[in-house]
């Protein structure tokens, strides 16, 4: 069910500095208040998030998010690794749109190196970024619908998710965390039969997306739970640093795939951001379903025009030489050895390369000191930022709506805690 007429939205006044932006503190002298603890392993917290909730009856009056349960020190670990050995760490952060993490890290490194990437590699990256986005949105849709009491969608989504992961397995051998992106390109060319299989999955997914809309689009229970709940005005979203689908659900057409002409392969493929007007839970679900359709279009477009050529840069100081050359060429063997043991130096400086992951702006702030290991890597994870606005969105809603709002903003705790 598509939105037919444009509604006028009355945005709520969201005064965000009272009392602190990311937490709600109820007055402590009310004896009727009940403090309950959701998580850290509550099934509807989407990971190891602890939400300390204060209730007045069934109404939420206080919210505190406690994060850090899956902190693994990835930023600190990357400082100890050479650049190309750091790549496998990255997709473990945002484990749902894993390929975006790899691409963001490689792009930041390429930017610091001023390295050119072959056109075919850029287009392959687009295909896999979009597949990872579809994967992330499918998990979001499935688990989000479970939070709202509808378990059927989970099985539909996880079946489709399996098809998407099969494509990753086909190209890179791993279903998640593929480490397929390399500095300078991608690790290998697409295998034979990938394009055909990919087109089959696209056709399958198109059919599935219609079914998702049939399942939730006109379902009165679903609409009662989602329409008008957790409304986020565009002004509020920007002030709280929100990016990605959550921002676009409030009607702001800001998408890094199209901003400033996009990046990488998106520059040539082009993209028009999907937006919704209402900014509620319903809009945040719908914007993601529509983004899946848009991603399928992008993948199809990329498959149609996939350029021929190399898939990784021929700069042997950065990219491994082809395997067969190692048996015949001394230089290749030396390059291989130097790369594996020492890595490559990156000029001293500071770059920040943001890309659009499934949750929003996902960027690596990379500070290099000119050696083969990064001096400091700071991950700007969208989930960490979007969790700040959660408390304010939950002010005065019912406890059941708190679960719906948490599901709709789609935090991934691996990305929050790093």
């Amino acid at each position: 069910m598509a939105a037919t007429e444009k509604k006028t939205v009355v945005w709520p006044q969201q005064d965000i500095l009272q009392p602190v932006p990311s937490e709600l503190w109820p007055s402590s002298d009310n004896p009727d208040l009940l403090e309950i603890n959701l998580g850290p392993n509550h099934p509807s917290t989407h990971g190891v998030l602890r939400v300390v909730t204060t209730l007045d009856g069934e109404v939420v009056v206080g919210v505190k998010c406690e994060v850090g349960y899956v902190h693994t020190g990835i930023e600190k670990n990357i400082e100890q690794k050479t650049y190309w050995k750091a790549i496998p760490y990255v997709p473990r952060m945002d484990y749902l749109s894993f390929f975006s993490g790899e691409t963001a890290f490689c792009m930041a490194t390429e930017k610091a190196l001023e390295l050119e990437v072959p056109r075919r590699a850029e287009w392959i990256r687009v295909i896999f970024q979009e597949l990872a986005r579809i994967h992330s949105h499918l998990v979001f849709l499935g688990t989000g619908s479970v939070d709202l009491g509808g378990i059927a969608l989970l099985f539909y989504c996880f079946r489709a998710r399996d098809e998407v992961l099969d494509l990753f397995e086909m190209a890179c051998g791993a279903r998640m965390h593929p480490r397929y992106c390399q500095v300078g390109g991608v690790a290998e060319d697409l295998p034979k039969g990938f394009e055909q299989r990919c087109r089959e999955v696209i056709a399958f997914m198109r059919d599935q997306i219609d079914q998702y809309y049939e399942l939730i689009g006109a379902n009165p229970i679903w609409l009662a739970r989602t329409v008008g709940v957790g409304v986020m005005s565009p002004d509020f979203a920007i002030k709280m640093g929100m990016t990605g689908p959550n921002l676009r659900a409030s009607g702001v057409p800001y998408d890094l795939r199209s901003a400033n002409g996009g990046y990488g392969g998106y520059r040539e493929l082009g993209y028009t951001p999907v937006t919704k007007e209402t900014g509620d839970v319903d809009a945040r679900f719908r914007v993601r379903i529509d983004e899946m359709s848009a991603s399928l279009d992008l993948i199809e477009k990329a498959l149609d025009g996939l350029p021929e050529g190399p898939v990784i840069t021929d700069d042997r100081k950065v990219a491994l030489p082809p395997r067969h050359e190692l048996h015949t060429s001394m230089e290749s063997l030396i390059h291989h050895f130097k790369l594996v043991t020492e890595g490559f130096e990156v000029p001293a400086g500071e770059v920040y390369a943001p890309i659009e992951s499934a949750r929003g702006e996902f960027g690596f702030h990379l500070i290099s000191d000119g050696s083969a290991k990064p001096w400091r890597v700071r991950l700007h994870g969208p989930a960490f930022v979007l969790l700040q606005s959660f408390a304010k969105l939950c002010e005065g809603v019912y406890l059941a709506d708190l679960i719906a709002i948490l599901a709709s903003i789609d935090p991934v705790l691996g990305d929050v805690d790093r």
Binding site: L17, P19, V20, P21, S22, V67, G68, H71, G73, E75, K76, N77, Q80, M107, E110, K111, E114, L115, E116, V117, P118, R119, R120, I238, K239, G241, M242, T243, V252, Y254, L256, N260, G261, G262, Y263, G264, P307, G309, K338, E345, A348, G349, E350, V351, Y352, A353, P354, E361, G363, H365, D369, G370, A372, W375, R376, R378, H380, F384, V385, Q388
Partner: protein, 207 residues
């Protein structure tokens, strides 16, 4: 551009020197200490007492409405003769590079910690040209940085993380607690003098 695609500067736009000029015109030439440009990214080093003033100007007059990131970087040992901090196999920044040059970088700034904030224009942009700009202040151990939360509320978690991981005191932050590490954690793990693998094992049998 034939079959190669230049990765110039993903989604940064052109360096926004106009904004920097307008800051200096409106707030005085001493509002910006230094401009650093690297790979098309413009960083403005600010005096610490003008930090909030310049950020407010950026928000109100220059339409930088999105605070993209707050990063704290510890530059301890960035230029020094430190061959492997923690024993033999740590970072060796004096190691010869492929081209045989010494790779000791220039000092990044006058003090130990650099606190930088990256801004982006989102809402007012109509031509698709979302520019970005970074501002940075320098502090030493024990000094405090004014908090950006009153200007950009989304600095909240970033600054709590900066406090947690680097021990920067953000003065005026409404809720400066540890966010990622446990509340009773000792030290600030992302400082360069905090060892890797040297932390005590928690919840072990030994009391």
């Amino acid at each position: 551009m034939s079959d190669m695609l230049q990765i110039n500067s993903p989604t940064w736009g052109a360096p926004d020197t106009d904004s920097a000029d307008r800051i200096q015109a409106a707030l005085g030439a001493d509002a910006i200490e230094r401009r650093v440009e690297f790979r098309g990214e413009l960083t403005l080093d600010l005096p610490i007492d003008r930090y909030i003033e310049v950020c407010t100007f950026l928000r109100d007059e220059e339409q930088y409405d999105l605070l993209s990131d707050v990063t704290v970087v510890d530059y301890l040992g960035y230029t020094g003769e430190v061959a492997g901090y923690w024993g033999g196999d740590g970072r060796d920044i004096n190691r010869d590079s492929h081209s045989g040059k010494r790779m000791v970088p220039d000092p990044a700034g006058p003090k130990r910690f650099g606190v930088s904030a990256t801004f982006a224009k989102v809402m007012t942009v109509t031509d698709g040209n979302h520019r970005r700009l970074r501002v940075r202040v320098w502090v030493d151990e024990g000094e405090s940085v004014p908090s950006l939360v009153p200007v950009y509320p989304s600095a909240d978690f970033h600054e709590r993380e900066g406090f947690d991981m680097m021990g920067i005191d953000f003065a005026g932050h409404p809720n400066l607690r540890r966010i990622i590490m446990p509340e009773d954690w000792g030290g600030h793990p992302q400082r360069k003098d905090y060892p890797v693998g040297g932390e005590p094992v928690q919840f072990s049998d030994e009391v």
